[in-house]
C-alpha cells in the first residue's frame, strides 16, 4: 500500500529492500555455518536415498521451471531463478526484485504458493518410499515450516532427513538464484 500511494519513492523502497536483503543473506549464512554440526551428523546416519534427495528436488524444480517458462513465455533465466526458490518466498522474491519488481512478485507468489500447496498435500503424499516425496515437496521449508507436517504424517524417524534436506536446499537457494541471474 505504501508503494501504491507513494510511488515516487520507488527508488528508495528498492534501495532499502536491497540493504535488508544483503543483511538477511549475511545472517542466513551465519545460521547455515552454525548448523554444519547437524549436517555432519546427518551424513553419518542417513541412507543414500535421503542424502541425495536434494539433487533430485533441485533438478525436478528446475525442470518444472523450464516447462513453466515455455508455457508462460517468461525468459528462461527468470524461469529457472523462480523455480530455484524451492519454496523460500522471502528470499526468492527479493532476490529477483533486484532484476525487476515484476519478477520479484512472480518469485514471491509462486514460492509462497509452493509452501501453501505443501501444507495441503503433504498429508496425502506419504508412500511406500517413506518421506522422500513430502520432503521434496516441502523444498527449503522442510527444515522448519513443513517439518511438523512431514514428521506427523510420515513419521518421527524422518526429522533428521527433513532437517538435512531443508538445510541443504536452503543453502542452495541463494547460490542457485545468484548463479542463474549472473548470466
Amino acid at each position: 500500500m505504501l508503494g501504491v500511494f507513494f510511488p515516487s519513492f520507488s527508488n528508495s523502497y528498492s534501495l532499502y529492500g536491497q540493504i535488508f536483503l544483503y543483511i538477511l543473506i549475511f545472517v542466513i549464512g551465519v545460521s547455515v555455518g552454525a548448523n554444519t554440526g547437524t549436517l555432519k551428523r546427518a551424513l553419518k546416519v542417513l541412507k543414500k536415498d535421503v542424502l541425495l534427495l536434494p539433487v533430485f528436488s533441485i533438478g525436478g524444480a528446475l525442470f518444472g521451471g523450464i516447462l513453466g517458462g515455455i508455457i508462460t513465455g517468461v525468459p528462461l533465466k527468470i524461469s529457472l531463478a523462480v523455480a530455484a526458490g524451492l519454496g523460500w518466498y522471502s528470499l526468492a522474491g527479493p532476490m529477483l526484485s533486484l532484476v525487476s519488481p515484476m519478477w520479484g512478485a512472480l518469485a514471491f507468489l509462486s514460492n509462497i504458493g509452493r509452501e501453501i500447496l505443501s501444507f495441503i498435500l503433504i498429508p496425502f503424499m506419504k508412500g511406500k518410499k517413506g518421506a522422500l516425496i513430502p520432503m521434496a515437496m516441502g523444498g527449503a521449508t522442510a527444515m522448519d515450516t513443513t517439518m511438523p507436517m512431514i514428521t506427523r504424517f510420515s513419521g518421527e524417524e524422518y526429522v533428521l532427513g527433513a532437517l538435512y534436506n531443508g538445510v541443504i536446499l536452503s543453502m542452495m537457494v541463494p547460490i542457485l538464484i545468484g548463479f542463474i541471474l549472473s548470466f
Binding site: 510511488p7 549475511f26 549464512g29 545468484g178
Partner: protein, 87 residues
C-alpha cells in the same frame, strides 16, 4: 549478485567459527527482523511499480503455473529416485 554470494559465504565462515554463538546471531530475532523489513520494502517497491499494477492478473496466473510445475517436477524426480534406489 556476486556481492550477495560473497556476503553469504562470509556469513557461513563466521557461523562455523562462532558455532553456538553463531546460532544466536543467525537465530530467530535478527533473521525475522531482516525478513520483515526486506519484505516490507519489497512490497513497497512492487506496489509502486505501474507495470505490476497493470498486469497483476497475468502475474498471478504465471505464478500458479510455476508453482504447479516446480512442485510437480520436484515430486516426480523424488519419486523416480525413490524407485531407482529401491529396485
Amino acid at each position: 549478485m556476486i556481492y550477495l554470494l560473497l556476503l553469504f559465504s562470509i556469513g557461513i565462515v563466521l557461523g562455523i567459527i562462532l558455532k553456538n554463538r553463531g546460532k544466536e546471531f543467525g537465530g530467530d530475532t535478527p533473521l525475522n527482523a531482516s525478513v520483515l523489513l526486506m519484505i516490507f520494502f519489497m512490497g513497497a517497491s512492487i506496489g509502486s511499480s505501474e507495470a505490476i499494477r497493470e498486469s497483476a492478473l497475468s502475474v498471478g496466473i504465471q505464478s500458479l503455473v510455476f508453482l504447479v510445475f516446480s512442485v510437480s517436477g520436484s515430486v516426480l524426480f523424488a519419486h523416480l529416485w525413490g524407485r531407482w534406489v529401491s529396485d
